[in-house]
């Protein structure tokens, strides 16, 4: 285990955190808020500790898969520990565990909050609201990917870090050089965020609102800054947000391929399946709420709200225009299923990922075929490409680990004795990085009522969900730390 390199990478990451904290700091200067002081202290602390960490140069620079995973997991934990400081120091969130929950929820682009919705949220200092949204943007594409784009870290180990931080089963590079790949991904990310920001400005949002919404959407996070999330905005703004939530949940490699003019490759099987699922879900839900009596939706309105909710949930953003907790059971069930499916691999969204679901379903179908022809040899193919056994195996293992984490978390949360819908969806909303669940943690509720232990379990779930289980689990294996 190359501890020196781990320390050094953590140091660089903390320095970058200090730079990221400039965003809320500038906000606090613009609005002249006292909370800016706590941001400044946090930035100085992060910068100082980071600087101490990189002072001593490591003798050995090689890192391998093991170090790569540990670095990523530790980075996210340390990042959250320091990122929580502004909330805590300013006294706006008096409990450190709450502040940590909020920050982890931000970086992992979950969007689950312990802050009460309504006016209390709007009373929060603007700089802290900005920091909440900005953590989404930073966490969406990955902090280490960002660090990699700017700093020449040691060669080959980078790939392991990128693998651990990016979403999806089979993370590949789009150009041969890691740094180049990281830069291209961030450029696409920044360009799309800017596009959304401008479109929102056109729709009449203020700069502060548009920036916040764009950051939240880009990371598919879902922290709002208004008491009613997106409900009070006009249809134009809601539709723009719907479209961008979907855009950010598509594999970024597709955009790169589009830029290269390879339309056919860009619309691969995963993207097509994702869009099909979205369309199907929107139709189902809009018909359901339109036809069920007592909701009083016009069809257009039903379509719009269903589209927004579906986009919000499948992209694992978690913005709301309508309290879907009040919708008919069928609609709610569809939304919960969407939470688990999640976005495309290689996007900023969470969930199990469409590509994994595709492989799992095909695997299940082939298994049935094998019952009929026990000696049949068949390989799972996606986009006409036969998948290696290795990939299929890792996806199966992922599902098992996912379910294990899910079940254990659910048991631990149930200790508190809240109803099953609340407990079940609280875990679902965090481990899939969605944000709001159903019941008490629904769009109009929040996570504040859980005790500290449950909150820490959910913090773990959010991290495990964002890093796709294994990098976090590896920290708990004693073999990882053996010399």
């Amino acid at each position: 285990m190359n501890f020196a390199m781990i320390r050094r990478t953590l140091g660089f990451m903390l320095l970058f955190l200090a730079i990221f904290l400039l965003v809320p700091l500038v906000t606090s200067l613009i609005y002249w808020e006292k909370a800016g002081l706590s941001v400044l202290i946090a930035a100085l602390l992060a910068g100082g500790v980071g600087w101490l960490c990189i002072l001593k140069k490591p003798k050995k620079r090689e890192i391998y898969a093991r170090e790569g995973f540990v670095i990523v997991a530790l980075c996210w934990i340390v990042l959250s520990l320091f990122g929580a400081l502004p909330f805590w120091l300013s006294g706006e969130i008096p409990s450190y565990v709450d502040a940590l929950f909020e920050t982890v929820s931000g970086f992992t682009t979950t969007g689950a909050t312990i802050l009460p919705t309504g006016e209390a949220l709007e009373a929060l200092p603007k700089c802290l609201l900005m920091w909440r949204s900005f953590t989404h943007w930073v966490g969406g594409m990955g902090v280490l990917v960002f660090v990699m784009a700017f700093l020449p870290l040691s060669g080959a180990g980078n790939l392991h870090m990128m693998r651990a931080e990016s979403t999806g089963a089979d993370v590949g590079k789009i150009v041969p050089k890691m740094r180049q790949t990281a830069k291209i991904l961030y450029l696409i990310y920044a360009a799309m965020t800017t596009a959304q920001f401008l479109l929102l400005l056109c729709g009449g949002m203020s700069v502060f609102e548009a920036l916040n919404t764009a950051f939240s959407t880009a990371g598919t996070g879902g922290f709002g800054f208004k008491g009613d999330s997106m409900a009070s905005y006009n249809s134009y703004l809601q539709i723009v947000t719907t479209v961008f939530m979907l855009l950010f949940s598509i594999n970024f490699n597709s955009y790169f391929l589009l830029l290269r003019g390879k339309c056919k490759d860009a619309f691969n099987a995963e993207v097509r399946t994702f869009l099909l699922i979205v369309l199907g879900a929107i139709l189902l839900i809009s018909l359901n709420i339109f036809l069920t009596e007592g909701y009083g939706y016009g069809f257009a309105e039903a379509l719009k709200d269903a589209a927004f909710s579906v986009a919000s949930v499948i992209s694992t953003t978690g913005f709301v225009t309508e309290d879907f907790n009040l919708w008919p059971t069928l609609s709610k069930t569809v939304l919960v299923v969407l939470m688990f499916i999640g976005a495309c691999a290689g996007s900023t969204g969470g969930g199990i990922k469409v590509s994994r679901i595709m492989v799992l379903c095909k695997g299940g179908i082939y298994e049935v075929g094998r019952m009929i022809h026990p000696k049949q040899v068949k390989k799972i193919a996606i986009d006409g490409r036969k998948l290696e056994h290795e990939v299929v195996r890792s996806i199966n293992a992922y599902l098992v680990a996912f379910i294990l984490v899910y079940v254990i978390s659910l048991l631990l949360i149930s200790l508190e004795g809240y109803d099953l819908v609340t407990s079940f969806t609280a875990v679902a909303a965090t481990v899939n990085n969605v944000g709001p669940g159903l019941g008490a943690v629904g769009p109009s509720g929040n996570f504040a009522f859980f005790n500290d232990f449950s909150k820490l379990v959910l913090v773990f779930d959010m991290l495990a969900g964002r890093l796709e289980i294994f990098p976090i689990l590896i920290l708990f294996s004693p073999r990882t730390w053996k010399k």
Binding site: G155, A156, P176
Partner: protein
Amino acid sequence: MKIIIVGCSEVGQTLAAKLNDDGNEVTVIDVQAEKVRAVSSRYDVMGVVGNGATQATLQEAGIENADLFIAVTDSDELNLLCCMIAKKESDCHVIARVVNPAYSEETAYLKERLGLAMVINPDFATAEEIARVLLFPSALKIEPFAKGRVELVSFRLQKDNLLVGLSVKEAMSKLKSKVLICTVERGEEAYIPSGDFVFAEKDVVSIVAPKREAKEFFTKIRYKGHSIKDAIVAGGGAITHYLFEIMERSGIAFKVIEKDEALCEELATRFDKVTVINGHAGDKNLLVEEGVSETGAFVALVKGDEENILFSMFAKEAGAEKTVTKISRIDYDSVLSKLDLDTVVCPKNITSDIILRYVRATGNAMGSNVETLYNIIPDKVEAVEFIVREGSPIVGKPLAELAFQRNVLVASILRGKTVIVPRGQDTIEVGDSVVLVSMGRSLSDITDALKE
């Protein structure tokens, strides 16, 4: 530079690693997914699984933007096919590895008609290196620079050599030779020695010298050398074939031991002067019978590395004066250097050196060009030859005034036909061919050697 390598076997892997270290954008292609995964997770390169001779795979690897295409699979035909298709898809430079003598005799035709930039034959290149060592057996390795006018020679210091116990400064003033000491290897450490470095027995010393001076130098330091009159070669494969071709007029009497009858007949038909023996080189009695104890040189060229090492060690013990051992896996070179094997040749490294040299030379638009590249100590010290072009910032200044990086040494300057062994007051002029030795960094331009 954007480079595509087809074939992830040993040569492909070595190339991917070295080209990536040099800062190129490398994409590797292989049909075997696990090989691609192994390479792309160890180095910062992109991997594509597929047949490198199909247009779809090449497209996926980004052939249209590639600058260089290298096909080094184990099959000659596949390599040539890959190159043909690559050439049709883009106007990149293409390099093919071709081993079969039937094809490599038509190198010129292939280069012209298929538009290949280079046809590389690892076996032939290896045979060339062995030939050089056999002609100058005092050396462990010889590498020609400046079109053969300057040589880089490595040798192991013997017990009663004059140098042992002297410092570099003392040795140079005592010998008054036009020779420059480049590097010294002691155990696993490598040094670019300063004036007060003291030589010890068993050090492997590399010198740069004008061609004739090297032999003189060896007499001066009382190095026990000899010239080779006969040699036994174990294994009759392609390298052996090429070696005999190169050495046909050398006057060395060759004897080859090969167990495959067909190969023996082929060799016997082609080379009248060579004694071809059909037998197993692992048969100790056969080796003794054929006079391994009196032979001038023993060259082990059978397939297995372990066998080659074993044969050479036995030959050395039996009394062969010089042994040459072919090894495919050079990863364990630190262990090998302890075995006293004399010369070790590694086709994989020779191939990648030649291709690297080409890459650095073409990837270089500035004041000078890489002409020759040679790894004195693999992965540690390399010697690079540059031609100095107009506009290079180093022209005309005395060497003592140029701020060179640490562990960089100007080893020789060739101006016209005169070889200068550089001292502080010498200058580098336009058109000179300069050999630089550098430790721990790769140079692709002469300015890389200067402090920033």
